[in-house]
Amino acid sequence: MELRLSDLRNGESGTITSMGVSRGSHRMHGRRSGHGMHRSFYHLHHRDWGFIKRLEDMGLTPGTEVTVVKSAPFNGPLEVSVRGSRLAIGRGMAERIFVEVKR
């Protein structure tokens, strides 16, 4: 099933399907459900382009397996392992990464 990276349990792995960013999402941060979210990747806002690009440059491309090692307390960032490297990803960012998980 498809989940957000931030919804994975500690130690759980998934395969990245997409990075979802909706248009006009500038005021959207913190917790919010993904229903009705655009999955359109066309005409990304430049800032979104930048951060999605950054994640991809760090190795988080669609089809890549990513493991959530743990998350910092109080909704802190996630420690993930991808392509042999260890990254810290802010929760807001992790909420926009969609992964396919076998449960």
Binding site: F41, K53, E56, P62
Partner: protein
């Protein structure tokens, strides 16, 4: 370029040992400055090898050549426009895949290149074995295994570098192939690009246009807008085929090339039990234990630095003030003598007694922790808290620095990725009570009112930081950004590199702060000599006496103004002006609290303003300065009226 004069650029990811190799190559012949017009650090050095004189440029540590950060832009422009004779790509052998992803991008810039396969020792400990000869064949560039910290392979690296520059070997660097549907479109665009004069290779431009690189689009748009619109159309086609944005498709395929290569050259036999560094990592990022460990580490560092600093500072100050009779003998005790000693020399002493005892150990520990990997763990733990003021975990580092001295704090804001984050972080840093402010809090309120009040002031300060940070975050346009940070494996820092970084930072501080501290001292002396104290105090009295409630019979308010020039002198000047160090004789507790509150909130000192100007330009620096002064006076006045109700 003369016959035996070459330029080599070092490029690679962050934390691959690039600066260690840079130090191994150039020794003490280094110069660290900024890239012209950019707040990105540029490290240059020269080295002499077998009759060649080689300039080495250490490019910033980056993961890609897109335009996510200034560092990436600076690096690719340097390689494409300045055209170094050779690029040495430094690669972390223990993280081959991600490093190769960057290598492939460097190769697309079609520059002569060799690879230093570094941290071979680390890879070995992780059970990673790499067939570097095979890698060399696949990449079509020389690959030299190195262990920078022990100097292994550095000599071979240089020999190979010369060979390639002199074109004694002929190698054919790999051109990474993307999928057929992408290659066709790259060819179409690069045909168009070849017809115009452009600094980057046509194929590279074509790929970047497909990746929707804003900088390249902007520049090509100026030359021939048709190319951009054609590329956009072709990118849409790729998106239709793959169902992902074209930029994502290109990045994925590039990673696929790297990944395939890794499968061919690398073998892993993971060690049986988790190594020490993994256990330390787990402990220091633990959801319960991580925080006390961090608190103890940070507090003991501060304690150690302040203990050491206090002792050394006193010792240095006493020794240097011992020179006064000599100066009096040389310049007399007239106006000239007063200016030379009271202005210039006291300024220098003020600088020395701050820089050496406090800033030096601060930088040393900072770089030590950074190189070891602990700073990124602190950022990981603090991310959530920093988000409350619109920043992310990394911002904790400059803020922490600010508690020592705001100047390195402001300069440290460079670790933030975007201009907005840098400015926000710097604003927060300037509100942080530095060591000199702490001295005022403890020396005035702590000593003459009560230690509880001193503590309360500290807490009030933190609350104000929190509130103002949040306000600034709301006021400044732009999206809140998120943390994306690598936490590299723990390692023993390379002492020589840490020392060198410390030294360069200290030198940077001296160059920036000393002239201003001296000017500040001179101004104070001039005012004293010209007997301007009283007139100035009178002009200021509506603010200092009426609004802030400072005593009218002493020119106390004026020391607040001097505090902008040199905050560490505030108490000393206060003592000189009122003629006693027993401040309780001249000020009521309320006045002391208000005085401290104002000194705490306004802009720390002239050197901090200079740091702000350097990082953000005059306009923003003045805005922050004026805002904080006005804000401090406002809060001071309100506090005075409130406290009068209590006392």
């Amino acid at each position: 370029m003369t016959e035996n004069n070459f330029t080599i650029a070092l490029a690679g990811n962050a934390n691959v040992g690039k600066s260690v190799i840079f130090n191994q190559l150039t020794g003490l012949h280094q110069h660290i400055g900024n890239w012209p017009g950019k707040t990105v650090e540029k490290a240059e050095g020269t080295l002499h090898f077998k009759g060649y004189s080689i300039d080495v440029i250490d490019l910033p540590g980056i993961y890609s050549l897109s335009t996510f950060s200034l560092e990436e832009l600076v690096s690719r422009e340097y390689i494409a426009v300045e055209r170094p004779d050779l690029v040495i790509n430094i690669v972390d052998a223990s993280l081959l895949e991600r490093n190769l992803f960057f290598t492939l991008q460097l190769l697309e810039l079609e520059t002569p290149m060799i690879m230093a396969l570094n941290q071979m020792d680390m890879a070995k400990r992780k059970g990673i074995k790499i067939d570097h000869e095979k890698l060399e064949k696949l990449l079509g560039i020389p690959v030299i295994p190195t262990v920078a910290v022990s100097g292994t392979g550095i000599y071979e690296l240089l020999e190979k570098a010369i060979e390639i520059i002199e074109k004694r070997v002929n190698m054919k660097p790999l051109k990474a192939q993307y999928g057929k549907e992408i290659e066709e479109r790259i060819a179409k665009i690069s045909n168009l690009v070849e017809k115009i004069q452009f600094k980057y290779p046509a194929r590279w431009v074509a790929i970047k246009l497909l990746e929707e690189d804003k900088e390249v689009e902007k520049e090509i748009l100026k030359i021939n807008p048709k190319i951009v619109s054609t590329a956009e159309k072709l990118a849409r086609e790729i998106e239709e085929i793959h169902g992902h944005s074209c930029s994502t498709v290109v990045t994925s395929e590039r990673y696929e090339v790297a990944s395939k290569m890794v499968r061919e050259v690398q073998e892993i036999t993971p060690p049986m039990k988790p190594p020490m560094r993994e256990r330390i990592h787990t402990l220091t990022t633990h959801k319960i234990f991580g925080y006390p460990i961090m608190a103890v580490s940070v507090l003991s560092i501060f304690y150690a630095i302040f203990t050491f600093g206090d002792y050394t500072s006193g010792f240095l100050g006493d020794s240097l003030f011992g020179l006064k009779p000599i100066f009096d003998g040389m310049f007399g005790t007239g106006v000239a003598g007063k200016l030379v000693w009271g202005g210039v020399m006291e300024g220098i002493i003020g600088g020395v007694t701050v820089a050496l005892p406090y800033i030096l150990p601060f930088y040393f520990i900072l770089y030590f922790l950074e190189d070891s990997g602990y700073l990124s763990r602190i950022a990981f733990l603090m991310d959530n808290i920093m988000h409350k003021i619109g920043l992310h975990g990394k911002a904790f580092i400059p803020v922490m620095l600010g508690f020592g001295c705001n100047v390195p704090g402001c300069l440290g804001c460079r670790i933030m990725e975007t201009e907005r984050e840098r400015l926000l972080t710097a604003f927060v840093v300037t509100l942080v009570p530095c060591a000199a402010t702490t001295v005022i809090i403890l020396g005035l309120v702590g000593a003459f009112v009560s230690i509880q009040w001193a503590l309360a002031l500290y807490i009030i300060n933190l609350l104000i930081i929190f509130l103002l940070g949040r306000l600034a975050f709301k006021a400044l346009p732009g999206e809140p950004t998120a943390l994306i940070m690598e936490m590299h494996d723990y390692r023993v820092p390379h002492l020589k590199t840490v020392l060198k970084q410390t030294w360069f930072r200290l030198w940077e501080f001296i160059k920036m702060a000393f002239p201003l501290i001296i000017v500040g001292s001179l101004v104070i002396k001039m005012i004293e000599i010209l007997n301007l104290l009283e007139p100035i105090a009178n002009v200021l009295s509506p603010v200092t006496v009426t609004w802030l409630g400072m005593p009218a019979e002493y020119p106390i308010g004026i020391t607040l103004i001097f505090g902008v020039l040199r905050k560490e002198l505030t108490l000393i000047m206060l003592a000189t002006l009122v003629g006693t160090t027993n401040f309780a004789e001249v000020m009521t507790p309320v006045q002391m609290i208000v005085f401290t509150l104002v000194a705490m909130l306004y802009i720390p000192c002239i050197a901090t303003i200079a740091a702000l100007v350097r990082e953000f330009g005059w306009k923003k620096a003045w805005f922050i300065t004026v805002f904080e002064i006005v804000f401090a006076i406002l809060v001071g006045g309100i506090a005075f009226r409130l406290l009068m109700l209590v006392y």
